[in-house]
């Protein structure tokens, strides 16, 4: 297991290493690969949607397939692309930032990844097995209950699996941050990305159970003959909407807060100034998370909750603009008077500020109940949430990838290609979505398969589709950049950006135990403090001693395969009871793996002091 023995290995050995790994950095890379794959799938679906809407009354794809496309685009992008990419970044970077050697529960970390990945695969199996889910990514009852075929069943089981994985990941990060901070790393010295990881994990912990419950109710209704959402039998279809949005609104903060954290790292680094208003930033993050739990009904203004409920939720929603505004101004003030370096990572961060502000502004417009009756379910809403999710989260992920790529993979991404990709994607993005505000105000409804000629919608949709192609090309160039850089990229030094936080005190990529000696943290931006005091190196907090490391394990994968098989059983047992066998076999595999994990002692291994001394440069 020591690094000397792992230099040259065959492909099989490497594959086995990744299948069994419990190392937070490798799991983070797996998350990035998995999330990247689903991001491409979701992007492909987006392209197909935009081709269908290129001209009026197009018949590029059928109406039914269009419904499947929009459903899978939304579901894939939110659950299988954006969130895993962020979880991957958190996985690699957060333990480095707090000076830990791994996350608190390495085994669970691996389990969380495999649950997400096989859940996503399960969901996408539906394409080949009689049709994907077609009730929208929100899957509102009663539409989702009555949708024929097995599409929505795959939605339920796929999201249940990947949701469990996310929940496990969130709890893991919480425990890691609470218990494993390096000596001196107090809460108020944690970098903002770690703070947002912490707050995001709290949101995951409290919000995902609502989705789990909702999905179970939908599962019981569709597969086991229950009637939670069946009004004719005394059920209530609105419960789904409440449960979904009690989860769904915190979910969008689960997506955006880590992106906020990313920008709060990048802007100070490339402005060569400490983050302006650190305390206010932390407080604003907490406030956004807190308010995020009491605004879900703003997605349901037109359901008929009544004027009192609508007014309360409208005010609460508008209140979120305050902490978000604090953040925007703090980022601006961070750059103010700084020595700004503009590279790809910084470009994404700079583009984010105005783009996200536009998205926030339309958010306040939508929060006004009265106006929302006009905007609801039009392209105005589509434009709004793409401005915040693409302009916030996707820009954030791309910025983070450029920023942390050297740390994760040891190579610097090509700057020229990075900038070309940025400009194509950035211009394409605004072409695609800015015009959709006006399409929406002109009355074009969301989720419609075709639009008619001569209603003033032709030009807008054409522009939007052209923009989407530009985004696609930008995305492809980023992909080529990754391949090019992994072959020919410049080898990265430990600290290529003149960084401020602890992750830049480790090698690029970091050794598998991260820190030979745990670092002593003497303040906010610990590496910068040491640089300013002329040392440039982190002071160790402990003498060199042997390091306790966890063993790898294939059990998380086996466990997840068990749940995967059982999910097929649950989906198809409505057709034929013989499928119950799949449930029994799958659950037996999963429970067997759990039992093995519980009964077999695995105390990990130690890296001896001598070995560590030998590795010293």
């Amino acid at each position: 297991m020591s690094s000397a023995a792992t230099q040259k290995r065959g492909f099989g050995a490497m594959l086995w290493d990744y299948l069994t790994t419990v190392d937070h950095k490798k799991i983070g890379i797996l998350y990035l690969i998995g999330g990247g794959f689903f991001f491409l799938l979701g992007g492909l679906e987006a392209m197909i949607i935009r081709i269908q809407l290129l001209v009026p009354e197009n018949d590029f794809i059928s109406a039914g397939l269009y419904n499947e496309m929009i459903t899978m685009h939304g579901t894939t992008m939110i659950f299988l692309a954006a969130m895993p990419l962020l979880l991957g970044l958190m996985n690699v970077i957060m333990p480095l930032q707090i000076g830990a050697r791994d996350v608190a529960f390495p085994f669970l970390n691996s389990l969380g990844f495999w649950l997400f990945f096989l859940g996503g695969i399960l969901l996408n199996c539906s394409w080949f097995l009689g049709g994907a889910p077609d009730a929208g990514w929100t899957s509102y009852a009663p539409l989702s209950v009555q949708s024929p075929g097995h599409g929505v069943d795959f939605y339920v089981m796929g999201l249940q699996l990947s949701g469990a994985g996310t929940l496990i990941g969130g709890i893991n990060f919480l425990v890691t941050i609470v218990t494993m901070r390096a000596p001196g790393m107090t809460y108020m010295r944690m970098p903002l990305f770690t703070w947002t990881t912490f707050i995001t994990s709290i949101l995951i912990l409290f919000a995902f159970p609502a989705l789990t419950v909702g999905l179970f109710l939908l599962m019981f209704d569709r597969m086991m003959g229950a009637a939670f959402f069946d009004v004719a039998l005394g059920g209530n279809a609105i419960i789904w909407q409440h449960l979904f949005w009690i989860f769904g609104h915190p979910e969008v903060y689960i997506l955006i807060l880590p992106a906020f954290g990313v920008f709060s790292e990048i802007l100070p680094t490339f402005s060569k100034k400490r983050l302006f208003g650190y305390t206010a930033m932390v407080f604003a993050t907490i406030l956004i998370a807190f308010l995020g739990f009491m605004v879900w009904a703003h997605h349901m203004f037109t359901v008929g909750l009544g004027p009192v409920a609508n007014a309360i939720f409208a005010i609460a929603t508008m209140a979120i603009a305050i902490p978000t505004g604090i953040k925007i101004f703090n980022w601006l003030a961070t750059m103010w008077g700084g020595s700004i370096r503009i590279n790809s990572a910084m470009l994404w961060a700079l583009a984010f500020v105005p783009t996200f502000t536009i998205g926030g502004m339309t958010g306040v417009m939508l929060a006004s109940t009265v106006a929302d009756y006009q905007y609801h379910d039009t392209y105005f809403v589509v434009a709004h949430f793409h401005y915040v999710i693409v302009g916030g989260v996707v820009f954030g992920i791309l910025a983070a990838l450029h920023y942390w790529w050297p740390k994760i993979f040891g190579r610097i991404l090509n700057e020229a290609m990075g900038k070309i990709a940025f400009w194509l994607f950035f211009i394409g993005f605004h072409l695609t979505f800015f015009v959709q505000h006006f399409l929406g105000l002109m009355g074009m409804p969301r989720r419609y398969w075709v639009f008619l000629e001569g209603q003033g919608l032709d030009t807008g949709n054409l522009v939007s589709s052209i923009g989407a192609f530009l985004m696609g090309i930008g995305g492809l160039i980023f992909l080529i950049n990754i391949i090019y850089s992994s072959v020919k990229g410049e080898k990265a030094s430990a600290d290529p950006w003149d960084g401020r936080t602890l992750e830049w005190a480790t090698a690029s990529p970091p050794v598998h135990y991260n820190f030979k000696q745990l670092p002593l943290v003497r303040g906010l931006d610990p590496l910068w403090i040491e640089k300013m005091e002329g040392k440039g190196k982190i002071t160790p907090a402990e003498p060199l001693d042997e390091i306790h490391m966890p063993n790898g394990s294939i059990l998380p994968l086996i466990m997840t395969i068990g749940f995967f098989i059982a999910s097929f059983g649950f989906i198809y047992q409505t057709d034929h009871k013989a499928w119950l066998i799949a449930i029994y076999v799958g659950m037996a595999i999963a429970l067997g793996a759990m039992l093995t994990r519980s009964l077999k002692d695995d105390h990990g291994y130690h890296i001896s002091k001598e070995e560590l001394e030998r590795e010293a440069e």
């Binding site: 609470v178 912990l205 409290f206 609502a210 419960i239 409440h242 739990f293 009904a297």
Partner: protein, 109 residues
Amino acid sequence: MANNPNTSKLKMNSFQRQKKKEEMKKQVISFALMIGFTLIAFGLVGFSEMDSMFLVPILLILAVVQVGFQFYYFMHMKDKDHEMPAVMIYGGVFAAMLTLAALIVITWW
């Protein structure tokens, strides 16, 4: 507390033994009280002729006290260094209560 290397049986000094004894006493008392509360709750439902307007609040109060025992004694929230678990638990209680209140008030009322 469990991580304190001094708590191994051999090295335990009289002060720590005293503390352990007190801790055990508290655990037993709260356990007995919880059993008692449960018996009272079942008894009230099973044998009393109380009006439900009166009975339900009593049961709720008993339940809240039991949850308190659970959190503070059995899950050690009364001990030092449990601020973060307390914040998390109360945060979770807040989110759950909000959900229930909303469903009751706007969906079923």
